[in-house]
């Protein structure tokens, strides 16, 4: 085999995002074949990209937090709670002020998560699991269990359009925001001092501290950022759907974690990338639309996400080393 080609293949297989890339290629081919090419049509791709944009914005925050060796299981409920609160406030104070106020609330949720985890010295898994139930409960309290619709007088406003309502060339604006967030936070992660500290804190907290890095400050910032981005995703979703229901964001915490893990982020921290998590998001989001298109009942979706999660992990832990050995010997 030509040496340059072999080196390129080796480099590709060595990527942590290898499993997610293979997964996207495989599932796209699989779904395209079984839907007679319908899967690749613009309207289907546009509907997938709405989910990619909304879930993806949340995933960016989750990815950063997971690289720092923490996790936030309350993101789905935060997403729902902020969305519900936003609809309630828009009717009272208008879109812009409502957005500002719910962002403050989202930041406060992140601050609280950070406070309890970092100062209370409790595992983030448990603290944010508690948050998952608390904010879901608040969603039920605010809506009374009913669907709430967006006040009609604000539906056509520029701010609502900009924050998730507009479509550009048939695609929802949230996908553009998602791409923007991926670029910005990839730069932050790989090209800034703060990003270097995120990897260090996630990889070896003792070493990071010994080099003068404050792990509490790094992680606390990420808890706040993660909740903020979940809130942003919640607002974007509400602006697109023009209504909210109590189950808004249910299971999204698991979808976000699955997207990160499939995208090559280690649960042990210190390893991963935003773009890997973004590919993981595309993979997870594609499944729902594809299954619906193939006529499968919606409840198969979670089963399929589980299968993809396990397959993604196995590709990274078993198939990737095997391929590296085979190509390395060739």
């Amino acid at each position: 085999m030509n040496k340059i080609i072999r080196q390129a293949i080796l480099k590709f297989i060595e990527l942590r995002e290898f499993g997610a890339i293979v997964g996207v290629i495989f599932l796209t081919s699989f779904f395209s074949f079984f839907t007679g090419g319908r899967f690749l049509e613009k309207d289907i791709q546009a509907s997938i990209l709405i989910v990619v944009g909304q879930l993806g914005i949340m995933v960016v925050g989750q990815a950063l937090l997971m690289i720092s060796n923490e996790i936030d299981l309350s993101v789905g409920s935060t997403f729902g709670f902020i969305g519900v609160l936003y609809v309630l406030l828009v009717g009272m104070v208008g879109v812009e002020l409502a957005f500002f106020l719910v962002m403050l609330m989202a930041a406060f949720i992140g601050f609280l998560n950070g406070l309890l985890v970092l100062k209370g010295k409790a595992p983030s898994l448990i603290i944010t699991l508690g948050g998952l139930f608390i904010y879901r409960g608040l969603c039920y309290y605010i809506t009374g269990g009913f669907v709430k619709t967006f006040p009609p007088e604000f539906r056509e406003s520029f701010s609502v359009g900009l924050l998730g309502g507009y479509e550009i060339m048939g695609f929802n604006i949230s996908i553009i925001w998602f791409i923007l967030f991926v670029i910005i936070f990839s730069l932050v992660l790989h090209r800034t001092k703060f990003g270097n500290h995120i990897f260090a804190v996630g990889g070896d907290i003792l070493t990071a501290s010994s080099q003068g890095i404050n792990p509490i400050r790094v992680k606390w910032t990420l808890f706040i950022l993660c909740s903020l981005l979940s809130g942003v995703a919640g607002v974007f979703t509400v602006n697109e759907m023009i209504m909210v229901h109590t189950t808004l964001g249910t299971n999204m915490e698991l979808e976000s974690v699955a997207s990160c893990v499939v995208g090559g982020i280690a649960l042990t921290g210190g390893v991963g990338s935003i773009w890997g998590a973004a590919i993981g998001t595309i993979l997870v989001s594609s499944i729902r639309s594809a299954l619906l298109l193939m006529g499968a009942p919606p409840y198969w979706y979670v089963t399929f996400v589980g299968i993809v999660l396990i397959c993604g992990l196995l590709i990274n832990s078993l198939v990737r080393p095997l391929l590296l050995r085979i190509v390395g010997r060739a």
Partner: protein
């Protein structure tokens, strides 16, 4: 360090310890487990504060001494167990906490070119094989290479005194020798060291002077030419050194 005393609860870890290091001098610090070596170097590196006694650097008494103050004054510690993040590259580890910045407009980015060039020079200076590049993950480096990289980082950060806490524990004979070579070369650069190890032969090899601690007190202090390895071992075992 003058008359340093340190208690942990009712246990006295150090009792009136006098300890000094001259500029560029290599001092070996030995003693059995619980002798007080770690406590002493933690006070010197600003991690612990002494209960009694005075700490002087360049003849100046240090009253509000801390880990960051120690680093600022050029006192750096190379630990055995930690000090490098395995999943990060050599370059990113070398600059961890002191990353160079390049301004592009309003934004501040890492100066990756500078990080890589400097790391490349340091890797070669401390004799790490050319297979290890600034982009190599620390996880792919051998134990000896990791220790050398930590020492290289201390040199780069303008250390005046490097405290080496069991730097060769768990390393092969060849790797230990490599690390000791790097330590010996520090002498030429005028950097002082405190070398702590249970391997007395090793301490003897790299030190100009050897200090023996036992139960929190200094029980012996010798210039290398005044004492043999066997005599130091005997002293630690509880036998007197005959002169």
């Amino acid at each position: 360090m003058e008359k340093i005393t340190k208690y942990f609860g009712s246990i006295q870890a150090l009792k009136d310890v006098d300890f000094h290091v001259h500029e560029g001098e290599h001092v070996g610090l030995v003693g059995d487990n619980g002798a007080g070596k770690s406590t002493l170097i933690r006070i010197l590196s600003g991690v612990y504060k002494q209960d009694k006694g005075k700490l002087y650097i360049d003849g100046k008494e240090q009253k509000d001494f801390s880990a960051s103050k120690a680093r600022e004054l050029g006192i750096l510690t190379v630990h055995q167990g930690f000090g490098l993040v395995d999943c990060m590259s050599a370059a990113r580890n070398l600059f961890l906490g002191e990353e160079p910045i390049k301004k592009i407009g309003f934004f501040k980015f890492l100066d990756l070119d500078k990080m890589k060039k400097t790391t490349e020079n340091i890797l070669r200076e401390i004799g790490i094989s050319s297979q290890i590049t600034p982009d190599s993950l620390v996880a792919t480096m051998s134990g000896g290479e990791r220790q050398s990289l930590k020492i290289g980082r201390a040199i780069f950060r303008k250390a005046r005194l490097i405290i080496l806490d069991e730097p060769t524990i768990g390393l092969s004979i060849r790797e230990s020798e490599k690390v000791r070579t790097v330590v010996r070369e520090l002498k030429e650069k005028g950097i002082a060291t405190i070398y702590i190890s249970h391997n007395i032969d090793e301490v003897y090899d790299v030190s100009d002077r050897i200090v023996v601690l036992d139960a929190g007190t200094v029980i012996g202090e010798f210039k290398k030419e005044e004492v043999s390895v066997e005599e130091i071992k005997n002293l630690i075992r509880g036998k007197k050194v005959g002169r």
